[in-house]
């Protein structure tokens, strides 16, 4: 018999298992019975905490999409030039996602399913990075240190680059990168990005 848990602990454990299964199979690929079976409880226990499968899926999406990385230290530590801060922020983001790669799967699932959550993933997880790039490049342009750069396109390029790193290493587990620490890959790609926008 499953160990009796307090309501909050039970809810958290349901959410953790649901997240794992939804990330693996998507909303339609997972039945409530399967989640209950994995937890060793009856489906009725699940319904005590979440009124429907949709509510459980929404809760799992919310938990993942609304997590925020903290970049306070990245911007307060000196030196705080654009390249150094971008490298620090990228490392923080990539390391945070690599600890919880279900995030990537859920983000992709929500986009494919046309869920509103896809926007939340961008707003809460990506926007810090893309806005930082756009804002900083605009500033550098105004100071005359960069020319002929469209900051919005540059941030899109950067986002695509980082997203691909995460897919290759955390989801696809591509053997081409097995011997490279994640932060090394990120640092090298940030260097390439800086070269591409002619940042010195």
């Amino acid at each position: 018999m499953a160990k009796r848990l307090k309501a909050a602990e039970r809810k958290a454990s349901i959410l953790a298992v649901a997240k794992l299964l939804f990330a693996d199979k998507g909303f339609h690929g997972v039945a409530v019975d399967e989640i209950a079976k994995r937890l060793g409880v009856s489906p009725a226990v699940l319904y005590q905490h979440f009124p429907s499968k949709e509510a459980l899926y929404e809760a799992a999406l919310t938990e993942i999409s609304e997590k925020r990385e903290s970049y306070i230290e990245a911007v307060l530590t000196e030196p705080s030039d654009f390249a150094t801060v971008l490298k620090r922020m990228s490392r923080i983001y990539v390391e945070s996602v690599s600890r919880d790669p279900d995030y990537l799967r859920m983000e992709l699932m929500s986009a494919l399913e046309g869920s509103q959550a896809a926007t939340r993933f961008f707003d809460h997880r990506w926007r810090a990075l893309t806005d930082y790039i756009e804002y900083s490049l605009d500033e550098l342009k105004n100071e005359g240190r960069l020319s002929r750069i469209n900051p919005k396109m540059a941030s899109l390029m950067y986002q695509g680059m980082i997203r691909e790193v995460l897919y290759e290493t955390c989801v696809l587990n591509d053997p081409r990168f097995h011997n490279m620490p994640l932060h090394t890959i990120v640092d090298e790609l940030v260097q390439l990005f800086l070269k591409a926008i002619s940042y010195e």
């Binding site: 903290s70 970049y71 306070i72 230290e73 705080s80 806005d131 930082y132 804002y135």
Partner: protein, 76 residues
């Protein structure tokens, strides 16, 4: 309302941009002067608390009304 020496409009900006701009603005103030910041990112409440605890500046005020967050920070 707390008196202030300079105001920073960080509405529409997401973390870490309000912090970055506050850092820049506060560097132009003299010790004891106050920076007022207006922001819309809900995460800015926690961010400015961390900002002050890490930099030693004093968070004099932190209020919210209709989705707008107002902070008053006294330079160390």
């Amino acid at each position: 309302m707390t008196d202030y020496n300079q105001e920073l409009d960080a509405r529409g900006l997401n973390c870490p941009l309000p912090i970055l701009r506050a850092k820049k603005s506060i560097s132009q103030l003299a010790s004891g002067e106050v920076l007022r910041i207006v922001a819309t990112d809900p995460g800015s409440v926690k961010d400015f608390e961390s900002f002050c605890s890490q930099t030693g500046h004093e968070l004099l005020d932190s209020t919210e009304a209709d989705g707008t967050f107002v902070f008053a920070i006294k330079k160390q």
